[in-house]
Symmetry: C3
Subunit: 216 residues, 3 copies
């Protein structure tokens, strides 16, 4: 009971953090309160929703009960008004966001395994749960997803490596809770290392640079 | 039988109106006939489709039969050619669109209740059915969703208040048809009041104005 | 067994081609390796995924096994590095892409028929499977879908006519395999004719040209 509560607490923390990054994406965009709430919801629930739809997991996790919805909406409304008066501590938020990324990735990979998909698909479910919400948020505000860009050091890559580590571990060792903890720590450390040493993936640099509209 | 026909008639009216706003969004965008048809379909079916997928309602409402599809495609094709010769009466359309918003919102909230979700989720299903199609349409033409912006006076907010009123009513009073009518009227009046008196939600105005890419 | 292998081979060919067009869309966009892989996956799987979700076909085709995922990821990674050193033969790719369009469209229409939807819905499922992946790809890179624009000669239209031909044929003639082949050939020829003679759909040219934000 206590363990379950701990996990729920962490999930709610992750949802709040994701909602906050959704709100902050509205900066400089002429968005009203409704837009801010939608951006918060999409960021917090987007990845898990796509995962549940793809796996055929009904009901979708946040439709099953009102707790996550109320959490995300309240967070968005509070932050909406709060940032009129106070600057948020962005470096703290960045670490919190790294933790949310790690946690969401593990939850997604674990749910994939619970639906008995191939390990490669489970890893993808993890990455998707971790990053797709932020991608949808960026789409809604008319930006190319930040996670595609080199400046976001080891974001999706940290999720990918962390999920791969977690999924491999479960095949070697049958200790669900410790595996989750190890996977989360690995993802978090990779993400923080990426930020600290500015490690990123190589950029796409084709020989043919101008985008030709001749091909589809 | 007659009542059911009345509701179906209204739903087809709503689909046509949504399809027209989809077509009109293509103005100034170098879009061809196919693009116009897709914009019409996405606007008319987008919200209800996301709702049905989230609720696990199979088949999705417009996949169950050809009527809605044919309605939206025909509307789009007729308007595509019509607007070459005639200007559409935009103020009439705006009232028709307010009615479609109200009707779609009620249908969405009712379907949520039929799937026994939490009242807060049912309200969200209503708002989503009312506004998500227009949001997807704006995404496809590369605009930040109009519904996020203050100039769209009480659009999503009218849907939210109307859906909340309708869902509350059903807990107090067991008269499905009258509740639908009352909820539709409330939403419609709020939307029209928003247009008339230019009432909008507050804008997002953070102290930290430049969008920092440091945080995800 | 042999026939099934042939179809699988063709499907994998189509997935690879779609993945390549996804990678190439990243040109000039400051996208890193992760972004390129996502664009490849979205282009290759997007249409079929939306189709399967709408039809309620579980599991979604590429979630059922790792083959398609590995194909698309490997293709994306290889092309990512290859294009640093070599220009791709775009005119060959364009023909390959026309074939992938034709094949995906037929697979989508057939799956619609297998779920006993209305013929008009089956045609739409075919068109969607053929073109929606490319539309999502364009959304992710912040472009209005290329398939909406007249310069893409007879793209969605070829899919529409080919799917209509295929679906009509199945009502007249009960020869699943030949129908697929005929439908594919018709779609392919229409698309190639569109490219060769630059045949496109009419553009949207309303009398009221400026986009008014007054109507939602």
């Amino acid at each position: 009971m206590k363990i379950w509560s701990m996990q729920q607490l962490l999930e709610h923390f992750g949802v709040s953090v994701a909602a906050i990054t959704g709100v902050l994406a509205a900066r400089g965009k002429q968005v009203d309160l409704f837009g801010v709430v939608v951006l918060a919801l999409v960021t917090a629930f987007g990845g898990g929703t796509i995962r549940d739809l793809l796996l055929g997991a009904h009901p979708v996790f946040w439709v099953a009960g009102p707790e996550f919805l109320l959490n995300a909406v309240l967070t968005a409304v509070v932050v909406f008004f709060l940032v009129r008066f106070r600057e948020l501590p962005l470096s703290v938020l960045q670490v919190a966001d790294a933790f949310a990324l790690a946690l969401f990735t593990m939850i997604g990979a674990r749910k994939g395994l619970a639906f008995a998909v191939d390990p490669s698909i489970a890893v993808l479910m993890g990455v998707m749960t971790g990053v797709a919400g932020g991608m949808l948020r960026d789409l809604l505000i008319g930006e190319i997803p930040l996670v595609f860009r080199r400046e976001i050091y080891l974001y999706a890559t940290a999720a990918f490596l962390g999920a791969s580590f977690f999924v491999s571990l479960t095949y070697w060792w049958d200790h669900a809770r410790l595996n989750m903890i190890f996977g989360t720590v690995v993802t978090l450390l990779l993400r923080l290392a990426g930020i600290k040493w500015r490690i990123g993936l190589p950029l796409f640099r084709p020989k043919i640079s101008p985008r030709g509209d001749d091909i589809k």
